[in-house]
């Protein structure tokens, strides 16, 4: 499969003015350099859905802004369908769609449908094609009533649906989503995730998504790139993250005895109630099998649940490893 996005040794720094006295800041201002993106390299295949994850200030939004042609990098190369984003902005615009969760591309006082029409002229779409495409998307996103209301009257979730329709209107090959679910409630998040995934599957659109919400990553993407301090920490399929970065398991035991002693190496009690205990096990020291055998010797079991830790914990562990590597 062809590469859709090719990034090599991407570096972007920002100059930040140092606080100084009035005269000094006027005549001899001093700046410090912040390396927001520090030598990132990766490639995305056509139709891949990749999550770009990292804590605040990790450089993920900066990278997306460079890839979508908004910012110039200091060095490194980016190629998207044979185009260099910051040099071929106008041409690239026809190939990409962007959704920035904290910004809007919709005209505030107008119904979203008017913005769609305006964008269709901007993207030089054929009139019949535009009508067909917008009807298709409005139908798929169940946005028939929403698109007729002025944007200022929409809820955040409704507006986000319109934003995504606007970004998919011209059938982009690549969709950049920068925190598309920020501020949304659980139901709206679910809707947006499902719609993005379906749109990508149906049209073969490559998706690069940044988010703080691991749910976006798990529900939408097949692969995850974690960055921290501008460096790449890991690049793996989402399903391999758990095995690669965390050895802990969460075991919940419901038992006949009110409580049992499970003092084993690597076993920590997370929660304790009469007849129930929740444990965290470091499988490097104690296997789940050994723990269960040990527990069953002490009490009859009513129920046993073995879970992976939540994705947030895994990401935290990855950040911690990344921070160590960066130090």
């Amino acid at each position: 499969m062809k590469s859709s996005i090719l990034v090599e040794n991407l570096v972007k720094t920002f100059k930040i003015r140092r606080k100084a006295g009035l005269l000094k800041s006027l005549f001899a201002p001093e700046y410090e350099t912040l390396r927001a993106v520090d030598g990132i390299s990766f490639a995305l295949k056509e139709g891949e859905r990749v999550a770009f994850v990292g804590p605040n200030g990790a450089g993920k939004s900066t990278t997306i802004k460079i890839l979508s042609g908004i910012l110039y990098p200091d060095s490194g190369s980016v190629e998207i369908g044979g185009l260099v984003p910051w040099k071929d902005r106008q041409k690239l615009a026809y190939k990409i769609g962007t959704v920035f969760g904290q910004r809007s591309q919709l005209w505030y006082h107008l119904p979203a449908r008017d913005t769609f029409e305006l964008l269709s002229y901007a993207y030089e779409m054929d009139r019949d094609d535009f009508k067909k495409r917008s009807d298709e998307l409005i139908d798929a996103f169940s946005a028939g009533a929403i698109v007729e209301k002025p944007v200022r009257q929409l809820s955040l979730g409704e507006r986000m649906r319109c934003e995504i329709i606007a970004s998919l209107l011209h059938r982009p090959k690549i969709l950049f989503l920068d925190e598309p679910t920020v501020g949304l409630d659980v139901v709206s998040k679910g809707i947006i995730r499902d719609l993005v995934k379906r749109a990508s599957e149906e049209d073969g659109t490559t998706v690069l998504l940044t988010s703080h919400d691991t749910g976006d990553m798990e529900r939408v993407c097949d692969r995850v790139i974690v960055i921290d301090y501008g460096h790449m920490v890991t690049d793996k399929p989402v399903r391999d993250l758990r095995s690669g970065f965390i050895r802990d398991k969460i075991v919940t035991l419901a038992m006949k005895e009110e409580s049992i002693d499970l003092s084993l190496m690597g076993v920590k009690i997370v929660e304790h109630q009469p007849h129930q205990v929740k444990l965290s096990i470091d499988t490097a020291h104690t296997s789940v099998e050994f723990l269960l055998q040990h527990a069953m010797q002490k009490s009859a079991m009513i129920d046993i649940t073995v879970e992976d830790p939540p994705m947030e914990e895994i990401i935290k562990a990855i950040y911690a490893n990344g921070a160590k590597a960066a130090c």
Binding site: T62, K65, I70, Q90, Y94, F100, D114, A122, D178
Partner: protein, 262 residues
């Protein structure tokens, strides 16, 4: 080009939908028209007025010269806000250059204002002044054409002022500096023919301000409209020159775009 037309069309609709803003601005224009005409009426009554310019022509000069400032929307405020909020960056990945998108939107809003000021504004000015300029309604139409082109140049200056926020972090003082130069050197309060010779004859010819207001409105004062085509040619020169300057500045501005956070 069709896309630009539609951006202007939407901006026209958006501008016209805000009736309160339009009405307030129009009211301020009428107050300013009254102040300027009354000021010159006092000067004429005092006997210090230029002998070769009838009061009625001076009143029309003032009425249309003030109108020019009210025709253009405050585009520099929008661009300044785009720069400071970081929105500018988010417009860059559209298949229409940000500079021309905003200029076209400004043009759409300008057309909305033209509709109101050229009809209701001139009608009220006529009712207030009491008669047409000496050159007749034909001169009025020609001045209006020139003032429209001048408003396009004014929009481009606003674009430049707005983009300057990328270097200065605040476009307001740049715009105000431009505006003060314009007020002083453009012939807004006093016709350029009344300026000292060294200014009206040479200095002002090298600046665009006179070509934007003073020269067009001087058609009311000259007794004929022969200068129309030469003024229009000069305006087109300035339109291209200022447009090229704005485009060059935009090219440099793109490298200054920084959007932190997100």
């Amino acid at each position: 080009m069709l896309k630009y037309f539609h951006f202007a069309r939407i901006a026209f609709g958006d501008h016209m939908s805000n009736r309160l803003r339009m009405f307030t601005r129009f009211l301020i224009y009428l107050v300013l028209l009254w102040v300027m005409v009354e000021m010159w009426r006092v000067i004429y009554h005092s006997g210090h007025a230029p002998h070769d310019i009838p009061f009625v022509d001076m009143a029309w000069y003032m009425g249309i010269a003030q109108m020019m400032f009210f025709l253009s929307p405050r585009l520099f405020v929008i661009i300044d806000d785009d720069v400071r909020s970081g929105n500018l960056g988010y417009f860059l990945n559209r298949p229409i250059p940000y500079l021309w998108m905003r200029f076209t939107e400004g043009g759409g809003a300008l057309c909305g204002n033209v509709l109101i000021y050229y009809s209701a504004g001139t009608l009220l000015a006529y009712l207030y002044i009491g008669e047409l300029p000496s050159n007749g309604w034909g001169a009025l139409v020609l001045v209006m054409v020139l003032i429209f082109v001048a408003s396009l140049i004014h929009l481009l200056f606003q674009v430049i002022s707005g983009l300057s926020a990328l270097w200065t972090n605040d476009a307001i003082f740049i715009y105000h500096s431009y505006q003060k130069m314009f007020l002083l050197l453009g012939g807004i309060y006093v016709p350029i023919s009344l300026y000292p010779d060294f200014m009206g004859g040479t200095f002002l010819k090298f600046l665009p301000f006179a070509a934007m207001v003073g020269d067009p409105c001087s058609l009311f004062l000259s007794g004929h409209t022969d200068g129309f085509w030469s003024i229009l040619a000069l305006q087109i020169f300035w339109l291209i020159a200022v447009g090229a300057g704005a485009w060059a500045m935009f090219g440099r501005a793109l490298r200054k775009v920084e959007i932190n956070g997100g």
